[in-house]
C-alpha cells in the first residue's frame, strides 16, 4: 500500500483554504507586533498576497506556517522601519491595566486575582513594547505563537543560538517589568 505524500505545491493549490487556516495566526502576530489593528489587517493581507505571488517558491523546506510567518516577520519589520515614529508612539501608549480587562479570558477568578492578572498582563505588554524589534519578534513567536526555537530561527532567519539569546533577554526584561509591580 502506498501513502499519498502531499507535495509543497499541493498545499498551495487551495489557496483559499491556506488563508482560512493561517489568517488568524498571521493577523494575531501582526497585531501583537504593531499594536495597531488597521496595520495588522493590512499586513495580513499583504502577507497572503505576497505568499500567493511567490507560491512557486515554497519548496517545503519549512512548514507552510513557518514560511508564512517568515513573510509576516519581514513585512512587520519593513512596516516598523517605515513608520518608526508612529510605531514608537503607539508602543509608548501600551495598554494600562484597565485597557486589557476585556482581553483577559474569562475565568472564575476572585476580583483581587483578576486585578493582579490585569496588572501583570499590562506589564508584559509594556515590556514587549519596549523590547528591540528582534527580541520582541522572537518573544511573540515563542510565547504567543508557540513556535519552538528551530521554527523561530527559520521564520526570522536567525541562528538558534541568537534566538535563545534574544529570548533570554526578552524574558529578563519582562521579569524586570513584573518586579516593578510587586
Amino acid at each position: 500500500m502506498t501513502t499519498a505524500v502531499e507535495t509543497p505545491g499541493a498545499q498551495m493549490e487551495d489557496f483559499d483554504e491556506v488563508v482560512r487556516l493561517y489568517r488568524p495566526r498571521i493577523f494575531r502576530f501582526a497585531l501583537a507586533s504593531t499594536y495597531d489593528r488597521d496595520a495588522a489587517e493590512t499586513l495580513t493581507q499583504d502577507c497572503f498576497l505576497k505568499a500567493y505571488r511567490n507560491r512557486d517558491r515554497f519548496r517545503g523546506e519549512s512548514s507552510l506556517q513557518t514560511w508564512l510567518l517568515q513573510i509576516a516577520v519581514n513585512l512587520v519589520r519593513d512596516w516598523a522601519r517605515n513608520r518608526r515614529l508612529q510605531f514608537w508612539r503607539r508602543l509608548l501608549a501600551a495598554p494600562e491595566p484597565d485597557a486589557v480587562r476585556e482581553w483577559i479570558p474569562d475565568h472564575d477568578l476572585s476580583p483581587e486575582v483578576k486585578a493582579m492578572v490585569r496588572e501583570q498582563v499590562a506589564a508584559v505588554w509594556r515590556a514587549a513594547g519596549s523590547l528591540p524589534e528582534r527580541q520582541r519578534t522572537v518573544f511573540l513567536l515563542r510565547f504567543v505563537e508557540d513556535l519552538d526555537l528551530l521554527e523561530i530561527a527559520a521564520a526570522t532567519g536567525l541562528t538558534e543560538g541568537t534566538v535563545k539569546s534574544h529570548l533570554s533577554r526578552a524574558l529578563q526584561a519582562v521579569r524586570v517589568r513584573l518586579g516593578r509591580i510587586k
Binding site: R37, D38, E102, V124, A128, K164, L171, V174
Partner: protein, 137 residues
C-alpha cells in the same frame, strides 16, 4: 547549600531549556519555584490576552471594511461633484471659445453685408458701371 537560580537560568527555564540540575533546584526550592511560576503565569496570561484581543479585533476589522463599503456611495457622490466642479472651467473655456468664433463669424458676415450694401449695384452688374458716365455714379 544550593544556590537559587540565576536570572539567566530562570529565563532559560521559562523559554523551555531545562537542565536536570535546574529541574532539581525548582523541585526543591520554593523560592525558585515561585519565581519561575510567576514568570510563566504572566507570560501565559499575556498570551491569553493577545489571543482574546486578536479574536475580538477580526470582526472589528471586517466592520471597518463594511463601514468603508457603506461610505463608498457617498465618496462616489463627492467624487462626481468634484468632477463636475472641475469640469465647469473647461466648459466655460469652451463656451468662451465658441462665443469668440461666433463673434468672428458674425463680424465677417457683417463685413460682407456692409461690403454688399456699400456697392452701388449688385456685383454682376458692376462691369456695366463703366458704361455709365461718372456723374450718374
Amino acid at each position: 547549600m544550593r544556590q537559587h537560580l540565576s536570572r539567566r537560568q530562570i529565563s532559560a527555564w521559562v523559554a523551555g531549556e531545562r537542565a536536570p540540575e535546574d529541574e532539581r533546584n525548582v523541585a526543591e526550592c520554593p523560592e525558585c519555584r515561585a519565581e519561575v511560576a510567576g514568570l510563566e503565569n504572566a507570560v501565559l496570561w499575556f498570551r491569553g490576552s493577545v489571543r482574546a484581543w486578536s479574536e475580538a479585533s477580526v470582526p472589528a476589522a471586517n466592520r471597518s471594511r463594511e463601514s468603508l463599503r457603506r461610505w463608498r456611495p457617498q465618496w462616489a457622490l463627492i467624487a462626481a461633484t468634484l468632477a463636475i466642479l472641475a469640469g465647469v472651467p473647461i466648459y466655460r473655456n469652451v463656451e468662451r471659445q465658441r462665443e469668440a468664433e461666433q463673434a468672428r463669424a458674425d463680424a465677417l458676415l457683417w463685413k460682407q453685408v456692409d461690403a454688399g450694401l456699400s456697392r452701388p449695384v449688385p456685383a454682376p452688374m458692376e462691369p456695366l458701371l463703366s458704361l455709365v458716365p461718372g456723374e450718374i455714379r
